[in-house]
Symmetry: C2
Subunit: 394 residues, 2 copies
Amino acid sequence: MKNFIYDIPTKVYFGKNEEENVGKYLKEFGAGKVLIHYGGHSAQRSGLLDKVRQSIKSEGIPFVELGGVRANPSIELVRKGVELAIKEKVDFVLAVGGGSVMDSSKAIAHGAANPGIDEWELQTKKVPFTKSLKKGCILTLAAAGSEMSDSCVISNDSVHQKKGINCPQNRMCFAIEDPCLTFSVPAYQTACGAVDITMHTLERFFNKGDHTELTDAIACSVMRENNRAAKICIEDPTNYEARATMMWASSLAHNDLTGLGRGKFLQLHQFEHALSALYPEIAHGAGLAALWPAWARYNMPYNTERWAQFAENVWGIKADANHQEEAASRAIDMQEAYYRSIGMPVTLRELSDRISQDDLVTLCDMVSENGNRILDGPKPLDRSDILAIFRNAY
Amino acid sequence: MKNFIYDIPTKVYFGKNEEENVGKYLKEFGAGKVLIHYGGHSAQRSGLLDKVRQSIKSEGIPFVELGGVRANPSIELVRKGVELAIKEKVDFVLAVGGGSVMDSSKAIAHGAANPGIDEWELQTKKVPFTKSLKKGCILTLAAAGSEMSDSCVISNDSVHQKKGINCPQNRMCFAIEDPCLTFSVPAYQTACGAVDITMHTLERFFNKGDHTELTDAIACSVMRENNRAAKICIEDPTNYEARATMMWASSLAHNDLTGLGRGKFLQLHQFEHALSALYPEIAHGAGLAALWPAWARYNMPYNTERWAQFAENVWGIKADANHQEEAASRAIDMQEAYYRSIGMPVTLRELSDRISQDDLVTLCDMVSENGNRILDGPKPLDRSDILAIFRNAY
């Protein structure tokens, strides 16, 4: 087991109607003026935004608003948000939405606390920073785990880049998680969320490391229960208990708990970031699902024992030492079939007819930074490995 | 699933030699003057205290010291500590030790921040309080989970009481967890720790609640891995990985994670608190082990389905709906046999020859507060239930 630091300060208010207390919680965390940040019209239509405004007003906390966050949130809107936050002297950013809204909120909080530094310089770590505004969220989608993670991913279309940054400043002060707010999430988005949740933990699980049995058991619990619950959510969208399981799995899968004592690098995510940088219309979870089987089968021979553990503890396939490869293969088949069963693409061709075979080299160059970058892992991936995986995924 | 608040702010520095950074961490948490609090001579003899002093000195932070914490820490020493902390204008209490030292440190921190209020009034919730000094710990025993819990238990011999209080003020700012510091823990204390760890999670698991599948899977992971690791620690005391698993299990078992969405009441712990209030020489874990089989067998018929889940996920005993009771009984037998195998008593008679049959009524009166208190749970326990359990445990 590697040494680790556990530092997950986000306070979670989990359960029915907790969003009605947002004003109270903002007050507890000392918010002076709030920027409410959100996405499209659904938060408005559902009445959620009105509830939020009402709750904040009732505590006498002033606020401004900025909507319009898209999937794969853009640096352009972040810049707008920073300008607004500085002009309005905001000291707290409240995200009302899913991963895109949360990440956009984080980037705005960083930019507003570091005026004069370009937001993309912060996001790409060219300028290190320690300050950020306080932030919190009301979660409306179980997927990204941004509500408890130290991660923030932003896209810059002008340079076809999608970049993530991990730092303590990315942690939310609080997360309000009411599973009822996800009842209206369509089946496709629910499935995308399920993939993202499992991958956050699965990619940690397949990092370098050994003797992390307790972490591993927790990781497999999250993957297994998330698989189980997501299926129910798709068949029965207003099933509170299943929505609650997915929501809590989303938070635990990416807050670090499921990888403590191991490496933390998310190898497969690097592939998907290139993909949705090139095609911003692609849903992150669907992109991961389309890439996953090829990535898994490519890695398995280099890490067979670990894949056999995954087979046993996520899919219930026990195998003795002589049959680990067989069990591992079967588990990958089962996870792939499961994704198919919840309507996810399992190849790039299924994902989007815009992706051509010629794009694969471009994607490979993006991930490998023209051959200058090797992706760390039990099987480190160089340019040729990366290209092979993209081709196998096609 | 019940609504819940997740609020576990303790920052954990986990791994080899982390204790050498204690000065740096104290500085990060803004310590102005520190009270180093510890138990007997072992921290001195092992050289740990010297390392701690050196690290704090090197950061230029002044400190005072108070040793002498015993098992089942006493309100008398807490009072001494409070006096010293106030006189010396201490603003941070650093516990170097196990559960007793940590709990004593917490009580001192509360008392010092609330001068003029008797420490036992705070501990017994007669005077509510919100202030406390900051606190941190260097853990030397995997057992109590006090390093991340919101719990603090103190004994008052003069009134034969042992009382616990749960509040956010009980959370440590940081916990330094170096598994190497537990290499020298004798087999008996290691086993006592293993019992305490499992019981913190097991008692949460058997609280009222439903549809907490993800929490349950994590809870069973902690119990299973703790059982496995403790056996190794006893056979091979310097096994780093097993010591690390026990240490991390100790923190997770009692920080709330393993019970989220369920009730939190620790039913069996109430029995043991009476026991070690009457006999302060009894080790808490051994007391729990001696009481556990009788408590488990008494509860099982009222919560059979849940016990069958425990059987499957902790002891690998699968059973269909018609054989749940059989599986549950077998699992209780196995956990009992396991405790015997690691040298733990499984009856009160085995625990101590000072306990007479006449004491059982006294103990029952203490737990049931002379019949005025019912212990909440799937089977609520009144005076007659409590007496029956004590008698069955004899």
